[in-house]
């Protein structure tokens, strides 16, 4: 049974090697600041899409307000580091706790809704959070929260991304995660099998929101500013696109979705007028030829090629 632990250690070792290479390229200035920014954005987007996948893909609760939780994380962490001079880590944890608490409070009533109704409610709640922030002068109101120190660097982003992925991967592969997946598959049957559906829906929502909060903290401390305009419903939609593109119910898919979409928008930065056209064309083609997303609900490590590396073990 410890085979999966060995696999985890291998993956972690491999990603630390990858980290060292990219870190070296960054310190040697081989990767310029434009691509450094995009690498960090990719990291933040991976956290957002993987955590949204836990809510939308694994638990099957269609949420459209993920950017709202990101905003809460961004502002709470910024308040802690700027107004209270706390260290960055405390800021991030505070951001996660703030967003998680809000996710819990919002989740309790709204997760009674289903399907489209839940989507509309979460969409509205995301906007409510943004409008609230817009009107609080303590955090800068409409001009944004300025003067945030730049604490986020590649190392912070990388290790938090790694932590998030492993946290959510281990969660969905446990009995608690299976309970969430059972809710997605058939809520009535899940309840009849002894799964407290309300508890697990709220749990998935809270964990997802908390990670969105961490992503928000990283975001605010990279761009020196937290601005309500960064957390509109278009942003939520962007994260949803990453999840759907990669495949609902696949962590690998969410990572790939986040990487591809961030790259596309970075590569097309000089042609902003074509960006949305190509973006939407890519999505239409995807819906035509692969409606289940690039990975469906399969992980990279499930593929045959990986099984062969493990020595033909079943």
């Amino acid at each position: 049974m410890n085979l999966s632990r060995i696999k985890d250690i291998k993956i972690i070792a491999l990603s630390i090697v990858g980290f060292a290479i990219i870190q070296l390229l960054l310190t040697e200035n081989i990767i310029g600041s434009f691509w450094e920014l995009n690498i960090i954005l990719i990291g933040i987007n991976i956290i957002m899409s993987v955590s949204l996948n836990l809510i939308n893909g694994y638990t099957g609760q269609f949420s459209l307000g993920h950017a709202g939780f990101m905003a809460v994380g961004a502002y709470v962490s910024a308040i802690l580091t700027v107004k209270f001079q706390m260290p960055f880590l405390v800021g991030l944890i505070g951001g996660a706790a703030g967003a998680g608490t809000l996710g819990f409070l919002i989740g309790l009533p709204t997760l009674r809704l289903q399907g489209d109704y839940l989507a509309i409610a979460t969409l509205g709640l995301g906007e409510i959070i943004r409008i609230c922030i817009l009107n609080i002068s303590y955090v800068g109101g409409a001009s944004g929260f300025m003067g945030i120190p730049r604490y986020t660097n590649f190392a912070w982003t990388f290790f938090i991304v790694l932590f998030s992925i492993f946290f959510i991967k281990n969660f969905v592969n446990s009995s608690h995660g299976r309970a969430c997946i059972a809710i997605r598959e058939n809520e009535i049957a899940a309840e009849a099998m002894g799964v407290d559906t309300t508890k697990y829906k709220v749990m998935a929502f809270t964990i997802g929101a908390a990670f969105a909060g961490v992503a928000g903290g990283l975001f605010a401390h990279y761009f020196y500013i937290a601005h309500p305009a960064s957390f509109t419903f278009m942003a939520s939609f962007n994260y949803l696109t990453m999840v759907v593109m990669g495949g609902l119910g696949s962590i690998t898919g969410s990572i790939v979705g986040a990487v591809i979409l961030t790259f596309i928008s970075a590569a097309l930065a000089s042609w902003p007028e074509f960006r949305m056209i190509i973006y939407s064309l890519a999505l239409i083609l995807l819906m035509f030829y692969r409606p289940q997303g690039l990975f469906g609900n399969i992980e990279l490590t499930d593929l045959k090629i990986f099984k062969r590396f493990k020595g033909g073990r079943k």
Binding site: R5, D8, N170, S175, R178, A182, N186, A192, G194
Partner: protein
Amino acid sequence: MSLLKAEGVSKLFGGLKAVSNFDMYVNKGELVGLIGPNGAGKTTAFNLLTGVYQPTTGTIDFDDKSLLAMKPYQITQRGIARTFQNIRLFSELSVLDNVKIAYHFHVQYGLFESVFRVGRYFKEEAEIEAKAIEFLKIFKLDDKKDEIAKNLPYGAQRRLEIARALAAQPKLLLLDEPAAGMNPQETQELMTMIRWIREEFGLTILLIEHDMSLVMGICERIYVLEYGSIIASGVPADIKNNPEVIRAYLGSEVE
């Protein structure tokens, strides 16, 4: 001592009385059938017993404790597991995962242990897997454990649903039309299996069924429901000759 006891249970949907003054008891170890024409309220009765609906009036006791105001998952945790008339499997999951989910409420390890994979996580996961495979073996599904549930043939899906319900380790098993859509030979096999699991697991079983050969063949006691009320109850031989039951099923003679 009766394991399950329902007294004066009624359920109103607006003005419609789906179940009225429903009395029934099931003794420990019994195999009881609930029959009735289409729309008689059999499934509604099941839904009342499992907490999907709350009765408008009446009491339901299980194991000497009231089931009123309990949620379906709490009732399952108390020891009543069920199958559904229209199969409700976790259709996109593997056969093995379907059974594993039934163990969920027996799992001891918490969120922290599952996320950081420490403590009881590996030990319990191995136990769950071993037990789930054991149940699949009983139902001859172990060679299909990695298959996606929706790809199984119909009869196997029915068996999987029963395996999943048993994996929750209930005291009382409710089967909602287990033979629906089965051919006579499959029904025969199902009868043997139901008898066998009752002996093997010391279960009490209550089943809804349309297939009279199955009901008359294995049930020790039968309740007949019509328009939401019990019109007859007793051993199969009495039910067969009960004029009320014949009238409910075949209609009365024209004078």
